[in-house]
Symmetry: C2
Amino acid sequence: MIILAVVNQKGGVGKTTTAVTLAHGLAQRDYHTLLIDLDAQGNVADCLGLETGNDLYRLLFPGMALPLAQGVTPSGRPRLDVVRSDRTTTQLKIALGAADMREYVLDDLLKDASYDVVILDCAPSMDVLHTAAMVAAHYILIPTRLDQLAVKGVRDVLTTLQGLSRISTCQLGAIIPTFYDRQTNESLLQLKHLARHFKEQVWPPIPQDVHCRESTRYGKTLWEYAPQARALLGYTHTRGQSVGGYIQM
Amino acid sequence: MIILAVVNQKGGVGKTTTAVTLAHGLAQRDYHTLLIDLDAQGNVADCLGLETGNDLYRLLFPGMALPLAQGVTPSGRPRLDVVRSDRTTTQLKIALGAADMREYVLDDLLKDASYDVVILDCAPSMDVLHTAAMVAAHYILIPTRLDQLAVKGVRDVLTTLQGLSRISTCQLGAIIPTFYDRQTNESLLQLKHLARHFKEQVWPPIPQDVHCRESTRYGKTLWEYAPQARALLGYTHTRGQSVGGYIQM
Ligand SMILES: Nc1ncnc2c1ncn2[C@@H]1O[C@H](COP(=O)(O)OP(=O)(O)OP(=O)(O)O)[C@@H](O)[C@H]1O
Ligand SMILES: Nc1ncnc2c1ncn2[C@@H]1O[C@H](COP(=O)(O)OP(=O)(O)OP(=O)(O)O)[C@@H](O)[C@H]1O
Ligand SMILES: [Mg+2]
Ligand SMILES: [Mg+2]
C-alpha cells in the first residue's frame, strides 16, 4: 500500500482538484483507492457530488476511534472509497491538539488498511492533521500555482518535512505546477524558476482549464465530465506528442 | 477607527491581494492605516517587499503582550504601518489555543490604537486568530473566486459570523468577486448566483489581471507597479463609465 499526501500551505493551488483527479484516475486503472479529506471545508465530497459528513471526526476523535471500515463512505465510483470531512473537523483538530501521540493518528488508522493507494487531501494550513499526514505518508505531492507566493509555499512544505525527519520517512514525490497559462510570461518565468531549483522533481504542468470549475459544479470528476479536457490531456505539441496534464500521472 | 477583517476559509481567493491593495489605497487617500497579517505564510510582507517577521508573535504571545507601538513595522509607504507574520504565528496559535479570553486578544491589542483604519488579513483556516479577528472587526470583507467551492466558502464565513453573535457585533461589509474573467460562462454564472443570494452586498467584480502576480514578484503594490491595471480600474463600458476594480473601494 502506498500513501500519498497532497499538501501546500498556500491556498487555492489545486490540492483538492489534484487529489480527486488522481484518486479517480487510479481507481479507473484497477487500483483499490481511498481518498481522505483532512480539510474542514469538506471540498472532496463537493467535488464528488456527495454530501459532506463527519467521517473523519468519528474515525479520529480521541477515545472514540472507530475501525477504518466503519468510517468509510462509498464514492459511487468502483474501487474508490472516501473519508469525508465537514465543520466537525475543526472540533477534531482542537481535541487532537491536546492528545498524546497525535502525530501518529493517521499512521495508526491506516496500519491495517487493505487499499492499494491512500490519498490524503490537506487543508491550506500547518495544523495537527497536516503534520499527521506527513508522518503517515510515503510521498508528498505539492501542487503549486505559478506565482511567487505559491512557489514560496513549496519551500515552506519542504522545510516542514525536514523538521519532521525524526518521526517521518516521507519523501518528496513531485511538485505539480497547476493553472499553467501558455500566454502569460509570468507562468513561464515561474516554471523556469521551479525547474532550476527542483529539477526532475517538477512534473510537466497542468494547463489552466475552465472544465475544472465546471466539473465541480456538477459534482463530477474531470474523467467523467470532460475526458478530453486540457487539464487531463495536457498540451499537444507539433510533433503530436502531448506534454503535461493529469494523464501523465 | 474602523476595523475590517478580510476573510474566506477557501484558499487562494485574493484575500491578501485585497487587504494590501485596500490598505495602500486608503493610505494614499490620507487615512492613517494599519495592516495586520494573521497568516503564518507571511504573505503581507512578501507583497510589500519586506522581510517576514515575528511582530504578531511578540504582540500577542500570552504573558508577553508588547504595546502595539513596539510591534509595528513601517511599510516604507507614508501613513501605512504593518504587523508582520512568519512561521512563529503557528506557535502563537498553539499557545493561544489554551489561553483564557483568547477570542479578545485582537480586540484588546487595538483598544488604544490611533489609526483611522485597521485591516486584518486572515489565513485560509478557521483558527483562533480567525475568530479573534471576527470579534475585533466592525465589518468583514469576503473576497471570493467565481467558483462553486469559493462561493460555498462565503456561506461558511457567514455561518461562523452568526455563531459568534454573542461576543461580536461584526457585520458583513461586502462580498468581493475576484479573478473575474468576462470570457468564461462559469464566471458569469457564479456572479449571477452570488447577486441573487446576497443582492447589494456583492461589489462589482475585480477582473483577472496578471499584474497582480507580477507586482508581488517585485514587492510592489498594484498602485505602485501598474496604476492603470484592470484589477484597479475595472472594465470600461461603452458609455465610458467603468465598473469593478479595486478603485471602487
Ligand atoms: N488547472 C486548473 N485550471 C483552472 N481551474 C482550476 C485548475 N485546477 C483547479 N481549478 C479550480 O480552482 C479552484 C481551486 O482549486 P482547489 O479547490 O482544488 O484548490 P485547493 O488548493 O484544494 O484549495 P484550498 O487551499 O482551499 O484547499 C477550484 O474551483 C478548481 O475547480
Ligand atoms: N484579480 C486577480 N487576477 C489575477 N491574479 C490575482 C488576482 N488577485 C490575486 N491574484 C493572484 O493570485 C494569487 C493568490 O492571491 P492571494 O495570495 O491574494 O490569495 P489569498 O486568498 O490571500 O491566498 P491564501 O488563502 O493562501 O491566503 C496571488 O499570486 C495573486 O497575485
Ligand atoms: Mg482543497
Ligand atoms: Mg493570503
